[in-house]
Each structure stands twice: as C-alpha cells, then as structure tokens.
C-alpha cells in the first residue's frame, strides 16, 4: 500500500461551551492517499467539517485540538507554528467552503482574491513587482479557464456579486486550486447549489483532480455524491468514524447499521417502489456522552454488549467498522 498523503490518527477536537466540553471530533483516524478521492459522509454535527478545519489549522478558541496527530506528506501538523502553517495552506493543502457567496469577499474583485494566493505562495514568480503581478494575473486567467469561466481575462475586475451561483463556485475552486495544491478539501461543495449546477461542479472537481493529479477529500452528507465520485468513503457519526472502506463495497454491503440507515433513506430511481425509510431518533448531543456505541439509542440491532466501549474493527478488503455485529 502506498504511503498516505494525509494521515489523521486518533484526533480529538473539543470546544469549551457554557454547557460543558463538547468533543466534536473524538478519536478520528483516516487516510487520504495520493491521487484518490475520499468521501467523508455524516450528518450536520458529525464532526466532518471540524476534522478538516483541524487539518487546515483553523480551529480557533474556544475550540482546541486535545490530542492526536495529523501528518501531511510525513510532516506533523498538530502544533506546527503559524508561519509554517501559513505557507502550507493555499499552497499544498487548499480548501473550498460550502457557500461561495459568503466565502468570497464582497468588497474585493475576484482578480485580487485569486492573484493574492499566487503572490503569497508561488516561489517561481519572476522578481520585480510589475513582472510578478503580470505573471500572477496570467496564471489566474489560466486557472479560471481551467474551471470553465468564460472570458476570464475580462472578469478579473468583477466583484463576486456579478457572478452567477455556479460561476461563483467555480471561482472559489479556481482560487483554491491556483497554486496547484496536492490536497483539496472540498467542504460540501454542492450544498448551496441548484441541482443542475451540482453535477457540473462535481464533474469539474473530478476532471481537475485527474488533470492535476491531486487528492480530494470530499465532505458531504450526500451518499449519492459519494457513490458517483469517491474511491473510498469514511462515515462519521457523533464525532467518530463508524465505517470506512472502498465506496462500492461499503455502499453495496454496509456493515454498520447507521450506514445502512443512511442508504435506506436515499431515494433511488432504480427502485421506486421501495419506501424511503428515515432513521428514527436524533443525533445525540455531544456533551457528556456515555461510553459505548453512540448509535445505540437509534439502532435496530441493539444488544447488551453495545453499552461497553466499541473499537474500530478491521475487516477484509481494506474495510473497517465500529460495530460488534
């Protein structure tokens, strides 16, 4: 097996709140391998976004990384100093956020917002202020072409509100990819978009991934998206990974009742007679969780053994599950 590009090991992230310590990420371990697309699936509050905010070094007080390790290309990121982190972000690891409308600065032109990443990171820009800016501009236009923004050279002076929703999303992706990072973290890239645009944006990410040979961590709550675009998948529930493995195998034969429940709640064209079955109950609050399986209150297969601590268990074919069944 090849060395993973990103290796998260037993990560714990907690937030101090007036109601007590909320452990949003509780012992998450996952790998992103070179060139692969990993799907990270979970409901709101499952810890999927917080996990990757930790990778980006963007956990701010009252949040804190309690323990664990995040290694990128063999280099430990937990405890990395601010200056080193800054040179990593945007250059080696890039991130897109859910909503491009709120993620692009309304007061700056998109040209400013894309060239500033290049000016901050690209070491191979020519010296001399004028030449640097000209080269950064040329690369920005090139990247905008790559993400399919028509007449890119005429749009650099435009502000985000002058773009349509889909074009804004493309612009955000162009900014994230402008330094050709090795890992793209795409946090719910389609949630804020119309259905027709969703597929375009996902196809775009998949295409660029192939072109640039980068790895992608695709954070989503949509198993359909995972099935279509991801090599492997990790399912999060209440701050823990409950199941992981190659996409086809996990979706074909889920081993965790939560994964099975998620799949049963996805409408499918191939089987219109089948009733959609939502999972009963709600995600537990993350304060003062008892030991034992966190899915227990909602699990159709609950057994006495489930109240004790359940560890991740490796299965055949690169799969793992946090369930005794």
């Amino acid at each position: 097996m090849t060395e993973p590009l990103l290796a998260i090991n037993d990560l714990r992230v907690a937030f101090a709140t007036p109601h007590g310590l909320v452990r949003a990420v509780d012992g998450v371990s996952l790998d992103v391998r070179p060139g692969e697309c990993l799907g990270v699936v979970g409901e709101s509050g499952s810890g999927k976004s917080v996990t990757f905010a930790a990778v980006m070094g963007l956990i701010r007080p009252p949040g804190r990384i309690e323990s664990g390790s995040i290694r990128f290309d063999g280099r430990e990121l937990v405890g990395l100093d601010r200056v080193d982190y800054r040179s990593l972000r945007g250059r080696d690891i890039a991130m897109t956020l859910q909503d491009a409308l709120t993620s692009l600065n309304p007061a700056l032109t998109v040209g400013t917002q894309i060239t500033e990443v290049l000016l901050a990171h690209a070491e191979d820009l020519p010296s001399g202020r004028h030449a640097r800016h000209r080269e950064a501009r040329a690369r920005a236009i090139e990247m905008m072409h790559l993400v399919g923004i028509p007449a890119a050279e005429h749009r650099l002076g435009d502000y985000p509100h002058q773009f349509s929703g889909g074009m804004r999303q493309r612009m955000m992706i162009a900014i994230a990819l402008s330094c050709r990072p090795r890992l793209l973290i795409a946090d719910e890239p389609t949630t804020a978009l119309d259905v027709t645009i969703q597929a375009q944006v996902l196809e775009l990410i998949a295409g660029i991934r192939a072109t640039l040979g980068m790895s992608v961590a695709l954070i989503t709550h949509d198993l359909g998206v995972v099935a279509e675009y991801c090599d492997r998948v990790a399912v999060l529930y209440a701050g823990q990974i409950v199941e992981s493995g190659p996409t086809a195998s996990v979706i074909g034969a889920p081993r965790h009742p939560y994964t099975a429940g998620l799949l049963a709640s996805v409408p499918m064209l191939s089987n219109l007679d089948r009733r959609i079955r939502p999972i009963d109950g709600q995600v537990p609050g993350l304060v003062d969780l008892p030991p034992g399986c966190r899915f227990l209150p909602r699990c159709p297969h609950a057994a006495p053994v489930c109240v004790s601590t359940i560890a991740m268990r490796a299965l055949e074919h690169d799969r793992a599950v946090r369930c005794v069944r």
Partner: protein, 335 residues
C-alpha cells in the same frame, strides 16, 4: 460611478437643501420676539419708529414674499445685515468660519486616527487588556460632558502643567499672514515653524475635547463591525488561502468593517457642529460656534439663521460625500 449618475446624485441634493431652507426660515419667523423691537429696546422708540424699522427690514411683508426674497438673496450670498455687528452677515461668518473649519477637521482627524486602529485592535484581540481599556475609555468618552471634560483638560494641561495655551487659536506675535484663515495652513505657507508649533499647541486641547465623544462612538462602531466581519466565511476562506494575518485584517476585514464607521462618522458631524459651540466657548476659540452662541443671546436672528443654514448644508454635503465613499468601499452599492 459614472459622471451621469454622479450628477443625478448631486441633483438629489437640491430638494433636500430647499427643504432645509424652508425649515430654517420658518423656525426663525415663528420664534417669538420681534427683531425690530429687540433692536430698538431701551432706546425709547415710539411705535411709529418700530413700524418704520420693521418696514425697512421687510418684516411687514407677507411670509411667502419674504421667503422668496430670502432665498433669492441667499443664493447670491447675501444673508442680510448682522444686527449686532452692523455689517453683512456673510462677511461676519466668513471671518469666523476658517477657525471653526480648522478645529472641526482637527477633531475629526483625531477621532478617526484614534478610533479606527483602536476599534480594529479591540476586535482582533477581543477580551484582551487593550479591548477592555478601550471599551471603558469609550464609555467615558461618550458619557463625559464636553464642557466639563474641556475645563478639566484646561486646568490640568494649561493652567497647572502649563504645557499648552489656555485659549485662542494662536498667539498674536506668532500670527502668520492671513491667506486661507486656517492658522496651521497659513503657517506652513509662510514657512514659519514657530507659527506652526504655536497654532498646533493651541489646537491640541480643543480638538481632543471636541473629537473625544466622536472617537468613542466610532471606536465602538468599528469594534462591533469588525467582530461581525471577522466571523464571516470569507475571512475563514482568506485564512485557508494562507494569507498573512496583516493582509486579512487590513484588507479583507477592514474594507468591509469600515462601512458602518463611515456612515456613523458622517452622521456624527452633526454633533461635531453642535459641539463646536460648547468647545469654542470653553476654549475662547475665535470660530463660528462661539459667534452663534453670542448671537443667540443678543437675538441676532439674521446671523443665527444663516449659520444654522450653513450647518445644515454642511451636514447634508458631508453625508453625500460619505455616500460616495461608501460606493468605493462597497461595490454592491450602486447609486
């Protein structure tokens, strides 16, 4: 913004200014007390003499006719005679205006230079020592009455410590040749360092006293606005891009965070103009504010009328300029 739109915007000012003129004129006409009788008070004037003066002053003509004549003359810069000075109102005001402009600009500059950096730092280091000091300071700045704070400063720095002069805009000996009437500018034009230092020394206390409440309010507005902006997704995204903290705060956050500051600063020019009257009186500043206070006491209506109109026009124009600045900061605003 295109020139056509700019002209349209300027055109919108006309009805506003006309409305202001109507209100000022009506206020003066409806105020109890007959200027003619006040002018002739204690002079044993007969009713016939009073009536004659009223006729000379045009006070016996219908309101509408007087208004049209007032506007007609005002447009030509003629606001009538100052009853007290026996000279044209416009001349008297123009003599006093430079000192007030100088003081107001200095106060505004002090307020902006103190409040914006302080508000930004307080928001960035929220809950820190600086934030707490600034918040307490702002509360004091808003709550202390200007005249009292001014007198405290006078006693402390001018009377006891003798670091700064007690009153006036400049010492007589240091007075530069009058070109603009602004002492600081005239000193520089005349290349006289001693005059410049003297003028600045006179300016310090009144400018701080006048600017302090404004600085306090703007600090709080800037802090609150920056706290809001720093929570936005585009700040997170800017961090994810690996930009330096300085660029994120000074460009990404501040360009959005300054919008409320600009609006409030423009609105606060109103209290700045009002504060002028108090501060100029306390510091013996030879400006328009003190002239207006004196004129109110002696019922010098033509002068008060012209000054109030001038204040109103200033306020409207400053807010118009703030709107222009707003479009620079916020490209989504299209005029």
């Amino acid at each position: 913004m295109t020139p056509v739109l700019l002209l349209q915007r300027v055109g919108h000012l006309v009805p506003v200014l006309l409305g202001v003129t109507v209100i000022v004129f009506l206020m003066m006409s409806l105020t109890p007390g007959d200027p003619a009788e006040i002018m002739l008070a204690n002079q044993n004037a007969t009713p016939a003499q009073v009536a004659m003066l009223r006729h000379d002053m045009g006070l016996d003509r219908p309101l509408m006719e007087r208004f049209v004549s007032f506007v007609g003359h005002a447009l030509q810069g003629d606001f009538g005679q100052s009853l007290f000075h026996r000279r044209p109102v416009a001349t008297v005001i123009m003599e006093r205006l430079p000192a007030t402009i100088e003081l107001s600009v200095a106060a505004m500059a002090f307020a902006l230079l103190v409040s914006i950096p302080l508000g930004v730092m307080a928001a960035v280091y929220r809950g820190g020592v600086l934030d707490r000091l600034a918040t307490v300071g702002a509360l004091l700045g808003v709550s202390l009455p200007g005249f009292w704070f001014g007198i405290l400063m006078l006693i402390g720095f001018a009377v006891n410590l003798r670091w700064l002069p007690v009153s006036g805009a400049i010492d007589f000996a240091a007075q530069p040749p009058g070109i603009t009437g602004l002492m600081v500018v005239d000193s520089m034009l005349a290349l006289r360092g001693d005059s410049l230092m003297n003028a600045l020394a006179h300016l310090v206390l009144p400018a701080i006293t006048l600017g302090l409440p404004m600085a306090a309010i703007l600090m709080r507005v800037t802090r609150a606005s920056m706290l809001e902006v720093l929570r936005q997704d585009y700040i997170t995204f800017a961090e994810a891009k690996g930009l330096g903290r300085g660029r994120i705060i000074a460009l990404h956050a501040l360009k959005n965070g300054l919008l409320p500051t600009v609006t409030v600063a423009a609105m606060e020019t109103g209290s700045l103009l009002g504060g002028n009257m108090v501060v100029e009186t306390v510091f013996g500043w030879p400006g328009l504010g003190r002239l207006v206070v004196e004129s109110i006491f002696v019922r010098n209506y033509p002068l008060v009328q012209a000054a109030v109109l001038l204040y109103a026009v200033t306020y409207v124009v400053v807010n118009f300029l703030a709107d222009l600045l707003y479009t620079v900061l916020n490209p989504r605003v299209r005029m």
